[in-house]
């Protein structure tokens, strides 16, 4: 090691000390939600910022045009997009720095954490109308009895099937009423030389979202990830990997990758979301259909509610004007006048029963999804902000179960270990 001269040591000391001074200066304080500012006391401003988690919907897309058209007269709306987690992190920093956007679309399981961390203005304060929304869909946005935003609509998971493959295998999709009949159907499909089922088991919330219909369908509860019911759901998907019915890449596939596998036409079934419903209907290479995901002993498992909430971040400067901007844009996007256009642009079902009825009447594509959305369960309803911990444990368990490839002791220890940590 080289020796350090006293002068350079003093220099380093000075640099570090100055760093401490800089560190001490940072960090302001933001107001309490609900206390400062109200949309009714403000006026809309000339520049409005809008963040959403849809980087795939580029400038010029239907969604982009719809958002731009919702800027109030005299205002220009600037829209920017980032993936869900990044958007949440950017929002956290922006609120801390006091330069949060006027409107953010936040994924629904993030709502309790965002609200309890003091990032969001209350719906009342921001002039957001939450009446007429189905209770299961508004649920994730209500924290300690206070509503913090309004759902942009709802998506849900279903079990898509390839009609051509099923016909060749002699499988009638309406005969699938529980896990046993689903497994029997997949076995028949695989016997004809086709492949079984695609799903996404990727680490993180996306894989957990896809696993929850099986988890809840087994009667398991998010407060006990290591329960026997939870393990039986893990065993179900693990067996699909072990028997070669599902691709082993399911452990790393996200929902788009899993959908691409289904589109090859080689698979009989695919668990995926309602946002692919129009893509499935337009598919030219094979005919696709959809049924509800079965529970262990019944035909319809509860699926997690999907979709984003429109929220107004907490503002420390000109709060009332920012909230007035939020109120105007969100009312335009989720109000009854535009509700249907918003749902169609996003591929979601409306969160309001009345608007949903019109939507289904206009586009029969949605008919099979209505019951699924109405029976859907909020991910954070039971646990609130603690959901993230349960989700993390469940994600570890799913990864372990998929890696066990059917080995029952491996699946059991994956769930037991995950619930213990």
């Amino acid at each position: 090691m080289g020796t350090m001269s006293p002068r350079s040591a003093a220099g380093i000391g000075m640099v570090v000390a100055a760093g401490f001074v800089l560190a001490a200066c940072s960090g302001g304080s933001t107001p309490e939600p609900g206390s400062t500012g109200a949309a009714s006391e403000g006026t809309t401003t000339s520049a409005i910022t809008f963040w959403d988690p849809y980087p795939q919907r580029e400038a010029g897309s239907d969604w982009d045009k719809l958002v731009a058209s919702c800027a109030p007269a005299g205002s220009t709306l600037t829209r920017s997009s980032a993936p869900q987690t990044d958007l949440f992190n950017q929002l956290t920093t922006a609120v801390k720095e006091g330069n949060a956007p006027d409107v953010v679309l936040l994924d629904n399981p993030m709502m309790p954490e965002a609200a309890s961390s003091g990032l969001l203005a209350t719906a009342e304060q921001a002039g957001i109308d939450t009446t007429g929304i189905d209770a299961n869909l508004i649920g994730p946005g209500v924290v300690d009895g206070v509503a913090y935003g309004v759902p942009m609509g709802s998506n849900a998971l279903g079990l898509y099937y390839n009609k051509d493959v099923l016909t060749a295998a002699g499988v009638d999709p309406t005969s699938i009423k529980d896990w046993a009949s689903l497994n029997a159907a997949i076995e028949k499909v695989v016997a004809t030389g086709a492949k079984g089922i695609t799903f996404s088991g990727i680490a993180g919330e996306e894989g957990v979202f896809q696993f929850e219909p099986w988890f809840w369908g087994a009667g398991a509860d998010l407060s006990d990830v290591g329960s026997a019911a939870a393990i039986s759901a893990g065993q179900l998907v693990s067996d699909w990997i072990g028997k070669g019915w599902a691709p082993r890449s399911a452990a790393t596939d996200n929902q788009s990758a899993s959908w691409d596998l289904f589109l090859t036409g080689e698979y009989g079934f695919a668990e995926n979301g309602s946002w692919f419903a129009s893509a499935a209907a337009d598919n030219k290479t094979f005919a696709a259909g959809m049924i509800a995901i079965p529970a262990k002993d019944s035909a319809v498992a509860p699926v997690p509610t999907g979709g984003e909430f429109a929220v107004a971040p907490l503002q420390s400067k000109d709060a009332s004007n920012h909230y007035a901007n939020a109120a105007a844009v969100i009312a335009c996007l989720t109000g009854d006048a535009h509700g249907n256009a918003t749902s169609e642009a996003l591929g979601y079902l409306s969160a309001k029963a009345g608007v949903r009825a019109t939507q289904v009447a206009d586009n029969p594509l949605w008919t099979p999804w209505v019951d699924i959305v109405q029976g859907a369960q909020g991910r954070t309803t039971d646990l609130g902000a603690d959901y993230v911990n349960a989700s993390a444990a469940l994600s570890e368990a799913i990864q372990g179960a998929l890696n066990a490839a059917g080995d029952s002791s491996g699946v059991e220890s994956a769930f037991k270990d995950a619930s213990g940590s």
């Binding site: 570090v16 760093g19 992190n89 993180g204 993230v388 989700s391 990864q399 490839a405």
Partner: protein, 322 residues
């Protein structure tokens, strides 16, 4: 292709080493204004160091000593907890497993990268037709964006229909589930070695160019075979360059996140200290709960290790110059 001596270039980049200081005796004769001029010249560098090095570093350490969550990150008021976060992080059963994986990843990566890089450098030492073209082709991994090469490796390692398993199948080897929990570390090491070979090749090749050919000619006249020439001329004369290549490789490899994250998201055995810290800092991977303090603590551990090897590097360089 111009060849620069890497160790010469690097020593220039080390501040405070080569500038001669004025002898103390000269001091009193100087007037004040050059002194202020000197301060003015140094000021931009000091400000730069403060803003971009000292501040983030101190902030990182400060964060690891306070218990932050998303709420206290925004509104302030994170309690000071001393070294509690470090105790909790190190006390987790997976901490030492991850340290072991980080060590395996780093050591195997740099060893194989170095050996293969050196073999290729020696191979390209003798010019032949198309040697320049071939050498350029070996640089491809360096030029491709990691998102492209990482995704391509993931696709080639697909357990059901990946190119790698098809190739193994030709030789009658059973398909391997490359990216599952047990094999993930091996898979990311393979991809990382592929990524790192060009760096080793380029630096070692330029080092070889600086060994006078007369030495080889003299040795050949004395009857030394190629093997003897390699061990008695190439290896000792390349030692300074080799040490620098290995030390830089070590620091680079220790902090690799991108290739691992793209291929496995740090699942199974492929979790390293760097990916673990990244996952906790941004709420990515299996847990979407953001853990600012724990991420900073792991980051500080990584910093200390990198700093230790950085000091080894400085010491080695100093010794070589003496």
């Amino acid at each position: 292709m111009t060849v620069t001596r890497p160790e010469a270039a690097l020593s220039q980049a080390t501040p405070g080493r080569t500038e001669a200081r004025p002898p103390e005796a000269e001091r009193p004769r100087r007037s004040r204004s050059p002194r202020w001029a000197a301060v003015a010249f140094v000021a931009p560098l000091v400000v730069y160091l403060l803003v971009f090095y000292a501040y983030p570093l101190v902030q990182n350490v400060a964060m690891s000593l306070q218990r932050y969550d998303r709420g206290s990150f925004v509104n302030g008021g994170a309690p000071f907890v001393g070294l509690d976060i470090y105790r909790e992080v190190i006390g987790q059963p997976k901490f030492w497993r991850i340290v072991g994986q980080t060590g395996t990843f780093t050591l195997i990566s740099i060893t194989v990268q170095y050996v293969v890089g050196l073999a290729l450098a020696v191979f390209f030492q003798h010019s032949f037709r198309l040697s320049a073209t071939l050498r350029a082709m070996f640089l491809v991994p360096w030029l491709l964006p990691v998102i492209v090469s990482g995704t391509t490796w993931q696709w080639m390692m697909n357990p059901d229909n990946g190119a790698l398993n098809s190739l193994l199948g030709v030789f009658g080897v059973d398909p391997v589930w490359w990216l599952n929990a047990d094999h993930a570390l091996m898979s990311v090491i393979i991809a990382n070695i592929w990524l790192g070979i060009p760096f080793n090749l380029v630096i070692l090749y330029s080092g070889l160019q600086n060994i006078p050919t007369t030495l080889y000619e003299a040795a050949a006249i004395d009857g030394a075979g190629p093997w003897r020439r390699f061990w008695s001329i190439t290896v000792p004369l390349l030692r300074p360059v080799s040490l620098i290549t290995l030390l830089l490789g070590l620091v680079y490899t220790l902090k690799v996140v991108d290739i691992i994250w793209i291929m496995t998201m740090g699942t199974g055995t492929s979790q390293t200290l760097a990916t673990w810290s990244y996952a906790m800092a941004f709420g990515k991977g299996t847990s979407s709960l953001i853990k600012y303090s724990e991420a900073s603590a792991v980051g500080s551990v990584l910093l200390v290790v990198a700093l230790a090897f950085g000091l080894v590097y400085v010491a080695v360089q100093r010794k070589q110059e003496d």
